[in-house]
């Protein structure tokens, strides 16, 4: 129809897209409208999605949990003003690197726990008290969170932990000592616990 009239205008100009995207992310951050910044990082347990609000880290997700689904859930529950903007996640990415190379045993990051409420939040609050290289049973965590009978609810809280790794739900295991389920898959849980035990 246009007879190739606009062929001289590149339909996709990747270099300009990257430059403009970075400029947009910076302007959004400056104007306080970047409600959720995210990036992905490689790790020994696969690609990870990291997302932060202005308050702090709000979501860590494994590739196997579906990155698009996780972002869509963040858009619905936090805000659709979401951009890939690595800068805000630099401290998180650095501390995760240190964790995976055995140079860090606790995380020191501002956290945004808005995705968890009630008893789930109480469970998450207890998780950092389980020391690196140690484990607790679901029953022990239920006790510590103030509801000794809520063992299954502890399992649910761990499965839905919005901040796996940083809030170490992988250190919660079955009473018989077997590892049990994990948000990132049972294999990842075994890798993490083995790594921590040998450090």
């Amino acid at each position: 129809m246009t007879g190739g009239l606009f062929d001289a205008l590149p339909s996709v100009d990747e270099e300009a897209n990257i430059r403009l995207h970075a400029r947009l992310a910076a302007a959004a951050e400056r104007d306080g409208v970047l409600d959720v910044a995210y990036r992905t990082v490689d790790s020994p347990v696969g690609e990870l999605l990291l997302a932060a609000t202005g308050e702090g880290l709000v979501r860590v997700a494994y590739d196997t949990q579906g990155m698009d689904e996780v972002l869509a859930a963040l858009a619905a529950s936090v805000s659709p003003r979401i951009l890939r903007a690595p800068g805000r996640l630099d401290p998180v990415s650095r501390q995760l690197d240190e964790y995976f190379t055995g140079h860090r045993t606790t995380f020191d990051l501002p956290l945004d726990l808005r995705l968890a409420t009630g008893f789930r939040k109480a469970v998450l609050a207890h998780l950092p008290h389980i020391a690196y290289g140690r484990t607790e049973s679901y029953a022990e965590v239920a006790m510590a969170a103030g509801s000794p009978k809520a063992v299954r609810a502890v399992g649910t809280a761990c499965a839905r932990n919005p901040l796996p790794l940083v809030l170490p739900c992988h250190r919660v295991v079955k009473s018989d000592g077997s590892f049990g389920e994990y948000a990132g898959g049972a294999d990842v849980k075994r890798i993490l616990l083995t790594m921590e035990a040998s450090a």
């Binding site: 007879g3 190739g4 001289a8 100009d13 403009l20 619905a76 951009l83």
Partner: protein, 164 residues
């Protein structure tokens, strides 16, 4: 009932899907230098307004509407500059930058009356129907269709690359 349900699509996906088209439109309307300012202003304004966008809105038409207003702002700002800034170098650089596009086409587009240039860009680059373009540019649907047709006819004679 108004469709004002919360938008669940992350804005990042809007940038990925429509960013390149809006850039082409801005370049066609403004030239490659001012286009990047207009694009940036457009997507920043869109990000701010995004949570209030009705779920059934035509996102591309919405973005072009914002871009149209931003292009007017950018044009006015350029007119206020004390020294005229050449939008296109006499001899377009050929240093392999992907955004380096045909200076002859820009010259031909730039020579069109604004209504023709915007109608051509919004219809042929953004793919918007004339009724939508009429809304954006504040004219009748017939006037928008005529402006695009007139613009294309002129371009075929003034832009060497356009002749078969």
């Amino acid at each position: 009932m108004a469709n004002r349900t919360a938008h669940v699509r992350p804005f990042e996906q809007v940038v990925a899907e429509y960013g390149p088209t809006v850039l082409r439109v801005c370049r066609a309307v403004l030239g490659s230098v001012d286009a990047e300012d207009a694009w940036s202003e457009t997507f920043l304004a869109a990000l701010k307004a995004y949570p209030d966008l009705p779920a059934d809105a035509n996102v591309e038409a919405w973005l072009v509407t914002i871009a149209h207003r931003k292009a007017i702002d950018v044009t006015r700002a350029a007119a206020r500059r004390p020294v005229a800034v050449a939008t296109v170098p006499e001899r377009p650089a050929r240093d392999g930058r992907p955004e380096d596009w045909d200076g002859d086409l820009w010259r031909a587009l730039g020579a069109l009356p604004t209504k023709q240039r915007t109608a051509v860009a919004y219809h042929y680059l953004a793919g918007l129907p004339y009724a939508e373009i009429a809304e954006i540019t504040g004219q009748t649907t017939d006037a928008a269709r005529r402006a695009a047709a007139d613009g294309m006819r002129t371009l075929r004679t003034t832009y060497p690359g356009g002749s078969p």
